[in-house]
Each structure stands twice: as structure tokens, then as C-alpha cells.
């Protein structure tokens, strides 16, 4: 089976406008996203991470190089609908993705477009809302929901297409901490239970906590690729390109500087506390 997504020497240039120069947003990116993985793409605003995400389902077509989704070239017009069905996308603004006046109608939008039979649409809508924990809001008006709830409806709307991969393009950027948590939990559950490939584009470092793999973008290029632990260990490099490390990592680095023998790569609070205690215990011996 082909990789979920593969890019080869991908470049993208945004055309210039009346008073703007054309901008090179991606300068030759080669990567593969494996089926069933949970990948987080980090980068400062303008690093090209969003542009990259949009090439994954042919919202943007490569200026140079190529992108393959499940073996299909995204430039192939005949395969466009199939590409978009396999790789669903959730965007940043919760309001600007919702098409209908009633939650269930909005979730039904994608299967309706695909010509799915009515009973099957019903089944998919119920299942998708269940997957994101929004069943009780089925007949509600979307505009009355909170940001986190709206994004979960958007995710359900994508799930109803039965995609193999979901790309979240800064989908938590406009949410409050509660909304962010709701969305991340929903996505993690989908990944765990349905083995859906997840590509999460963000600039919130702590969202990489449960990822299998972290990709770091800078100036249109892929500069780091590894586990969260490995990437956060390179703190100076991250800070040099405008990113941050979680405070847990910063703490461990400060302790190392003070002479403690601790690895500087724990990401969660508990991992961090455990590492510190272990060092204290060992020293005590």
C-alpha cells in the first residue's frame, strides 16, 4: 500500500499582486506521511506550514515537484474528488466552515456531495457526531455553539466522508484552552480508535505531546524531523527560528546548567517531575 501522503521536492510560490512580489512559500520539501501516524507540523507564522498542509488535498497545486495522496498525483484533475475524500481538512476559523443552519445538515454536506444514499447519509451523520461527542447537538443551530463545539462539528463533517487522513490547519488557533482541549481529545480518540492518519499544523508546542512524529518548518523548508522528545531536545535551534520549548523542557535545561544530570527532553509535567525525583534519589545514594 502506498504511503498516505508523499511529497517530492515540493515547491510553491504565491503569485504576486498589484503591489506585492511573488513569494516563495515552499522551497523544496520532500517527506512521507505514513498511514496511521500522528504527525505534528510546527513552525512560526510564515514558515510555510499552512501552505504545506494545503498541498496535501489539492487546495493548492505544486509550482514544482509533486504530491501524491495514496499513490494519486494531486495534479490529476480526474482524481481530485477522490483525493479530497481521502484527505479531509479542518480549517482555522470555526465559522467559515459551517454551511448549514442545523448541525446534522452540515455534517451531511459531504456525503450529500458524494451522492451517498439517504439512509447511509443518516447512518454516517449519527456515527460522525458520536465520534466527536456532539450527538446531543444534532438539531442545534451551529452559530450558537462554542468555538470548540463548532470545530468538533467541522471534524464530524469531515469524518462523514470516511477519509483516511485528517489535516488540521491551525484548527485550535482561535479557541480558548477548553475548546483546544476538546478538539485535541476528539482528534486523539479518532486516531486511536479508527487509526485515521492525523496531520496537525500548529504553533502551540504542547500540542505535540502525543504525536508520533514532529516536523519543523522554517522559511519554506523542512528543518527537523523526529520524535517530540528528539525535537524538543534541540531547544536552542527551536528558539533561533522563533519557536519555544515547553516550560518542562526549559526547566530541565536550567537544571542541567546548574549541574544536575537530567535528560532535557521530557515533555509532560509528570515525566518532568519523575526525572527530577529520580535524580534526587540517585544522588542520595
Amino acid at each position: 500500500m502506498a504511503d498516505m501522503i508523499r511529497t517530492e521536492d515540493l515547491t510553491f510560490t504565491y503569485p504576486g499582486g498589484e503591489d506585492t512580489e511573488p513569494t516563495l512559500a515552499l522551497g523544496g520539501v520532500t517527506l512521507t506521511i505514513e498511514r496511521g501516524s500522528f504527525v505534528v507540523v510546527l513552525g512560526h507564522n510564515g514558515s510555510g506550514k499552512s501552505t504545506l498542509a494545503k498541498t496535501f488535498n489539492a487546495v493548492l497545486l505544486p509550482s514544482g515537484g509533486a504530491v501524491w495522496v495514496d499513490g494519486m498525483d494531486t495534479k490529476d484533475e480526474a482524481l481530485l474528488l477522490e483525493v479530497r475524500r481521502r484527505v479531509g481538512m479542518v480549517f482555522q476559523n470555526p465559522d467559515n466552515q459551517i454551511v448549514a443552519n442545523v448541525v446534522e445538515e452540515d455534517v451531511a454536506f459531504a456525503p450529500e456531495n458524494l451522492g451517498v444514499a439517504t439512509e447511509e447519509i443518516r447512518r454516517r451523520v449519527d456515527a460522525a457526531l458520536g465520534d466527536v461527542g456532539m450527538e446531543e447537538f444534532m438539531l442545534h443551530a451551529p452559530h450558537l455553539l462554542s468555538g470548540g463545539q463548532k470545530q468538533r462539528v467541522a471534524i464530524a463533517g469531515v469524518i462523514a466522508m470516511e477519509p483516511e487522513c485528517i489535516v488540521l490547519d491551525e484548527a485550535t488557533a482561535m479557541l480558548d484552552p477548553i475548546g483546544r482541549r476538546e478538539v485535541l481529545e476528539a482528534i486523539e480518540r479518532l486516531h486511536r480508535e479508527k487509526n485515521i492518519t492525523v496531520v496537525l499544523i500548529t504553533h502551540h508546542m504542547n500540542e505535540a505531546e502525543h504525536a508520533d512524529r514532529v516536523l519543523v518548518m522554517n522559511d519554506g523548508k523542512l528543518v527537523m524531523d523526529g520524535t517530540p522528545r528528539a525535537v524538543f531536545a534541540r531547544a536552542e535551534e527551536l528558539m533561533a527560528i522563533g519557536l519555544a520549548v515547553p516550560d518542562t523542557v526549559a526547566l530541565l535545561r536550567a537544571l542541567r546548567a546548574g549541574g544536575m544530570d537530567v535528560p532535557a527532553d521530557a515533555v509532560t509535567v509528570d515525566e518532568c517531575a519523575d526525572i527530577i525525583c529520580r535524580e534526587f534519589a540517585e544522588r542520595g545514594r
Binding site: 512560526h44 507564522n45 482561535m174 504553533h203 522563533g242 526547566l251 537544571l255 546548574g258 525525583c277 542520595g284
Partner: protein, 288 residues
């Protein structure tokens, strides 16, 4: 330090007389001290945005009073506009309100509404642009041709240009990347220092609040839950978490270490402080 703003027994009811009637703010008492850098934290629905819209007279109290410099701002309802020039309010995602042909004109909107002379408006626009970190070269450009981060600074400059005695910022760093956040907060800190006025920062981010403010007010369920210095507030971490809020990640590490038997002051809220405390403990031969 006297209070520049006092909120007295404030209650605000939305949709009174309908089945949707609710009190967004209930019997709230609050003082903002002259010259301080105050942080306001609260979950969504705690009454934050209703409260701040009362500070500059955009909303009228259902009950209670707002005192600016000791005077009730609604004493002369027809003069309420003048309050908005003294208490500047920057909403969330303010870049969506830009409308003028040039950055200069947009920043000039506020001071022009104040009826100032051309020369005075010009001076204020340039000073505000400087505070917000905008280069003079941008002043002649269309605000719509700028990047998101630049647009935000233009919007903030537009409020700073009114030279308000109190500047209230609602989640000014929302949606910015880490570097963008740091830069903006640095500009705000510098502004506060140089102008010596009062700044109120409303935020969701505990870390952000912890690193920047003198004093914190915590709102929950339409009321004030607690207030005090960052140390005093974060020491009550368990209460905060119960109210659906969070504490800085560092404080959570401190709490986790305490649970594991280390004698750490639970009010620690910066990386430097916790690292120093741990290294000191280590020297003293403590164990888990």
C-alpha cells in the same frame, strides 16, 4: 496608590424579561490601581468580556457603578464618549476592524474623534506607531496590504494614540506564534513603563499573565473568585483548577514534585525560580 477605576457592586443582565435572561456579571467589586499592570483571568463565560466593556462605557450597568477617578462614568450619560478616550479598549482580533486607506489614517481615527488639531494628531500617530513597533515606512501603506501581525499592531496603535489613562487589552496575543507573542508583550511592557499609565491584560494564558503583571484578578461564574499577586494566586492552584482554570505549567511541576515528597513552595511560577529552588534543595541533600 489610589484606584483609578472602581467597579462597585456591578451586575449586568442580558435579555431581561425573556427566557434567555442571565446575569453575565453579578455583584462584582473590583479596583484597578493607578499605574499598575493588572492581569484578568477567567474561563469563557466568567464575565470577562462583559466586565471590560463596562470599563469604557460600552455597556451600562444594570445595577452598580463604575467610578473613573472617583466619578461615576454614567453621571452624565451624554458625556459617555469622553470616557472611551480615557479608558482605551482593544478587542480580540482587533485587526478585523481596520478600515482606512492608509495605516496613518486608521491610527488617526481615535485622536481625530477626540477633536484634536492636525499637529497633535500627527504627533500622536507617530508616537503610537513607535510604541507598537511599526516603522514609519508602513504609515503610508494600505492596512490591508500588511501581514496579520502588523495589522494587529496597527489596531493596537489606533487605541494607544488616544493616550488613554487606562489601556485594556483583551487577549492581545491570541493567534500569534511564540515569537510574535513575546515581541508584542515586550512592546506592551515597554509602553507601560514609559508612559506610566495603567494597563489591564485579559488573557487565557497563565504563563503570559504570570510573566507580565503586578497583580491578578480571577473571575469565575460572573464573580471575582480571588485576587492578589501572582504568587498569592498561584499558591491556590487547586482552587483555580477546580474553577476550570489552569496554572502555569511550572506551577504544575512544582505541585507534582510536592506530591512526590519534595519540599517545594507551591507558589512558584517561573522556570528560574523553580530551578533555583531545586538546586538549593539538592545542595541541602533533600530526597524524594
Amino acid at each position: 496608590m489610589e484606584d483609578i477605576i472602581r467597579v462597585e457592586d456591578l451586575t449586568h443582565t442580558y435579555s431581561a424579561g425573556t427566557p434567555f435572561c442571565r446575569n453575565a456579571v453579578e455583584h462584582m467589586d473590583l479596583s484597578i490601581r493607578r499605574g499598575e499592570f493588572l492581569g484578568v483571568i477567567g474561563h469563557t463565560g466568567s464575565g470577562k468580556s462583559t466586565l471590560i466593556q463596562h470599563l469604557n462605557g460600552l455597556l451600562k450597568p444594570t445595577e452598580g457603578r463604575i467610578l473613573l477617578d472617583g466619578k461615576d462614568i454614567w453621571a452624565e450619560p451624554k458625556q459617555i464618549r469622553s470616557v472611551r478616550f480615557r479608558v482605551g479598549l482593544v478587542f480580540q482580533y482587533p485587526e478585523y476592524q481596520l478600515f482606512e486607506e492608509t495605516v496613518y489614517k486608521d491610527i488617526a481615527f481615535g485622536p481625530t474623534n477626540m477633536g484634536l488639531s492636525r499637529a497633535e494628531v500627527d504627533a500622536r500617530v507617530r508616537a503610537a506607531a513607535r510604541f507598537a513597533g511599526l516603522s514609519e515606512a508602513l504609515l503610508d501603506k494600505s492596512p490591508f496590504a500588511l501581514s496579520g501581525g502588523q495589522k494587529r499592531r496597527v489596531a493596537i496603535a489606533g487605541v494607544i494614540a488616544m493616550e488613554p489613562e487606562v489601556l485594556v487589552l483583551d487577549e492581545p496575543t491570541a493567534g500569534l506564534d511564540p515569537q510574535g507573542r513575546e515581541e508584542l508583550l515586550a512592546h506592551i511592557r515597554a509602553y507601560h513603563k514609559e508612559r506610566g499609565n495603567t494597563v489591564v491584560l485579559v488573557s487565557h494564558s497563565m504563563e503570559e499573565i504570570a510573566r507580565n503583571v503586578d497583580r491578578i484578578v480571577v473571575l469565575a461564574h460572573a464573580r471575582v473568585l480571588m485576587e492578589g499577586t501572582p504568587r498569592a494566586v498561584f499558591a491556590r492552584g487547586a482552587e483555580l483548577m477546580q474553577a476550570g482554570l489552569d496554572v502555569p505549567q511550572v506551577t504544575r511541576v512544582a505541585m507534582a514534585l510536592r506530591d512526590r515528597g519534595l519540599a517545594i513552595d507551591p507558589a512558584v511560577y517561573t522556570v528560574e525560580e523553580l530551578a533555583a529552588a531545586l538546586l538549593a534543595l539538592r545542595k541541602g541533600g533533600a530526597a524524594c
